[in-house]
């Protein structure tokens, strides 16, 4: 009833191509932004930040990055964990090498370095497709983790083989290290998350996104229309790498603080982010958020209801949690193979006609 596009006329092409063409959507989006920036930081505590918000924001960035590659450009990648590790280690080396430079710049540079590495491992995509490409990117995953384990220069020759984020501040407020306030870490990640989502949205609604989708939908036709497949695929790898690298850097520096590469950035991380993208919806920025929320929140929710609410023993709850999450994923994919983003789209379609659907 209140969700209408009738009467919401556009008088310029600029208006028509904006991110939220429907006024109600736009308002809702501003509302979420205001709440995220102005309300949440004042009400959250340590538990909420570390269990819910930080992983959600950081995985959202990684999922957006992977979605550009898999959902928009159609190139399957199983190397996300490895590329996140590149971001983390690049950030670590920059933080320890140039401590006088702001961490903001370190994280962006770490994204840039990951973009380069990702581009390098994207080169096989010019020759191979589909499952075979997935296997090739799997090589990236194992090689990168192995490299960060073996080459001690990457972890500054520390005895434990771990990397630990030194304390850094932004405008006098600590954002990494043990002295970090929860709200500061949250805001820091939120800024990156919003910026990444905006950049990704702009890229995907413009010509770059069309080129990627053209390659995804029919690469031969795309080439005959004038899309340079080399440039389109490699730019998708690079940009995807940029976002994934930023996610890796934040994951290490802000969220975990100390990282052992095989544990934090192993193959299961690659799959986790890939599942987020698939469950959320391929080729949708909103889907990246929805998928990240689903896979981050669901376990937390289950644990709280089973252990906290029903008083079950922790180990039983932990096992049940695996089964329930797994079952729900299967159920979801059968009911809606196009992911949560499609469910959302259908819901909006219905709302538009509600309460008179005929």
């Amino acid at each position: 009833m209140f969700y209408r596009e009738a009467g919401d006329f556009k008088t310029s092409y600029k208006d028509d191509s904006q991110t939220f063409p429907i006024k109600f959507d736009r308002m809702r989006y501003y509302l979420v932004l205001i709440a995220a920036f102005a309300v949440v930081p004042f009400v959250i505590n340590d538990y909420w930040v570390n269990a819910v918000f930080l992983p959600f924001l950081i995985y959202s960035i990684a999922a957006i990055g992977l979605n550009i590659l898999v959902g928009y450009c159609g190139q399957v990648s199983l190397g996300t964990g490895g590329f996140m590790a590149v971001g983390a280690y690049a950030c670590y080396k920059l933080m320890t090498g140039f401590p006088e430079v702001s961490i903001l710049i370190h994280i962006i540079l770490a994204g840039g370095i990951t973009a380069g590495v990702c581009l390098l491992f994207g080169l096989p995509s010019l020759r191979i497709k589909g499952f075979y490409l997935a296997v090739a990117t799997l090589a990236a995953q194992f090689f990168l983790v192995w490299m960060f384990n073996r080459v001690s220069w990457f972890y500054n020759y520390s005895a434990s083989g771990q990397i630990t984020a030194p304390e850094t501040t932004v405008m006098g407020v600590a954002v990494t290290g043990p002295a970090t306030e929860p709200w500061a870490a949250y805001l820091f990640c939120l800024v990156f998350c919003v910026a990444c989502a905006l950049l990704a949205r702009n890229l995907t609604r413009g010509m770059a996104g069309r080129k990627w989708m053209a390659i995804r939908d029919m690469d031969i036709a795309a080439e005959i229309i004038g899309v340079n497949p080399l440039k389109a695929k490699l730019s998708a790898f690079a940009i995807s790498g940029f976002f994934v690298g930023i996610a890796g850097a934040l994951f290490f520096a802000v969220y975990l603080g100390a990282v052992e590469v095989g544990e934090a950035f192993g193959i299961q991380k690659s799959f986790l982010v890939l599942f987020m993208v698939i469950i959320g919806g391929l080729g949708s920025i909103f889907g990246s958020f929805a998928g990240a929320a689903f896979l981050v929140l669901l376990p937390v929710l289950l644990k709280n209801t089973l252990v906290g609410g029903l008083g079950w023993p922790t180990d039983l709850a932990a096992h049940l949690e695996f089964m329930i999450v797994g079952g729900l994923i299967v159920l979801f994919l059968i009911a809606e193979p196009h992911g949560l983003a499609q469910l959302w789209r259908v819901a909006k379609e219905k709302l538009r006609l509600w309460p008179f659907p005929h």
């Binding site: 092409y13 600029k14 010509m207 770059a208 989708m213 031969i220 005959i224 004038g226």
Partner: protein, 273 residues
């Protein structure tokens, strides 16, 4: 003959046909031992509708693929706008202003009609990735300007109502029209149509014919067309090339071709004694 190359001629219905824009010289294309095209030469003049006809397997589509750079012929050369074309990737050929449609529709199914047609504007849009990411300045300006051009074509082909529909949901006839729109959006100097009317009923064929003539008339686009429906070919085209088994067996106006004994034999068969 040299004069005609540059001056062109005027058709019976008063359209001005320009000089030669593309010339195929002794093209030979082999796939292993199979000779798909053998030693074929013909030219395409600016502003004309040039048809390529022939029985199944005559090599028509291969010819189109040679023009659009998808196949590189083993022998012969393609002369485009007075210059020999070096070996090129298909996307480079497209950037030179040669657009095409496909026999089996090759649209981007997951994208909306608008996005599909906008993709056709790739030649006109070259803002950098960074500008696009920030969506300011050149990127935004380009997007608006090209949207205007695309809307004209959408209007022209009467597909306004499906602008925001994903292409995968459209029926066959409309898809063909969207594909034409995408090719037109490139403002090509040569438009290649590979069986634009395959699988259509009479009404849809009439619509399509009208669009092809209108495009040629309104934008002065040079059109190269492969089609099986003889009635359509004879009505639309200014000159016709006839192929059979990879060889050229006729070339001329529809009337000349219709009365060519070799063409009649190829289509009706010859009695062997």
């Amino acid at each position: 003959m040299k004069d005609m190359d540059t001056q062109g001629y005027t058709t019976a219905d008063g359209r001005k046909i320009g000089g030669v824009v593309m010339e195929m010289k002794n093209i030979t294309l082999r796939f292993g031992g199979v000779m798909a095209i053998s030693n074929i030469s013909f030219d395409i003049r600016e502003g004309e509708i040039r048809a390529i006809i022939g029985p199944n397997g005559a090599g028509k589509s291969s010819m189109l693929n040679v023009i659009s750079g998808f196949y590189n012929p083993q022998e012969g050369e393609v002369i485009y706008k007075g210059q020999k074309r070096p070996q090129m990737k298909p996307y480079q050929v497209a950037r030179q202003g040669i657009a095409r449609t496909f026999q089996n529709i090759a649209l981007f199914e997951g994208m909306t009609v608008l996005d599909n047609v906008m993709t056709g504007r790739i030649r006109q849009m070259n803002a950098g990735l960074l500008a696009q990411a920030i969506w300011k300045g050149k990127a935004e300006r380009e997007e608006t300007e090209n949207r205007e051009a695309v809307e004209k074509i959408i209007d022209f082909l009467e597909i306004q109502h499906i602008r925001k529909t994903p292409v995968g949901r459209l029926p066959y006839g409309l898809k063909k029209r969207v594909e034409l729109a995408r090719a037109l959006a490139a403002e090509p100097s040569i438009l290649l149509l590979d069986e634009p009317m395959a699988g259509m009923n009479v009404e849809e064929k009439e619509d399509m014919s009208r669009f092809i003539l209108d495009v040629n008339d309104e934008f002065g686009t040079t059109i190269v067309l492969i089609e099986h429906d003889m009635g359509v070919v004879m009505d639309l085209s200014d000159r016709v090339v006839v192929m059979d088994y990879g060889k050229k067996i006729g070339d001329g106006t529809p009337d000349e071709v219709r009365n060519n004994q070799a063409v009649i034999d190829a289509y009706l068969g010859v009695a062997h004694d």
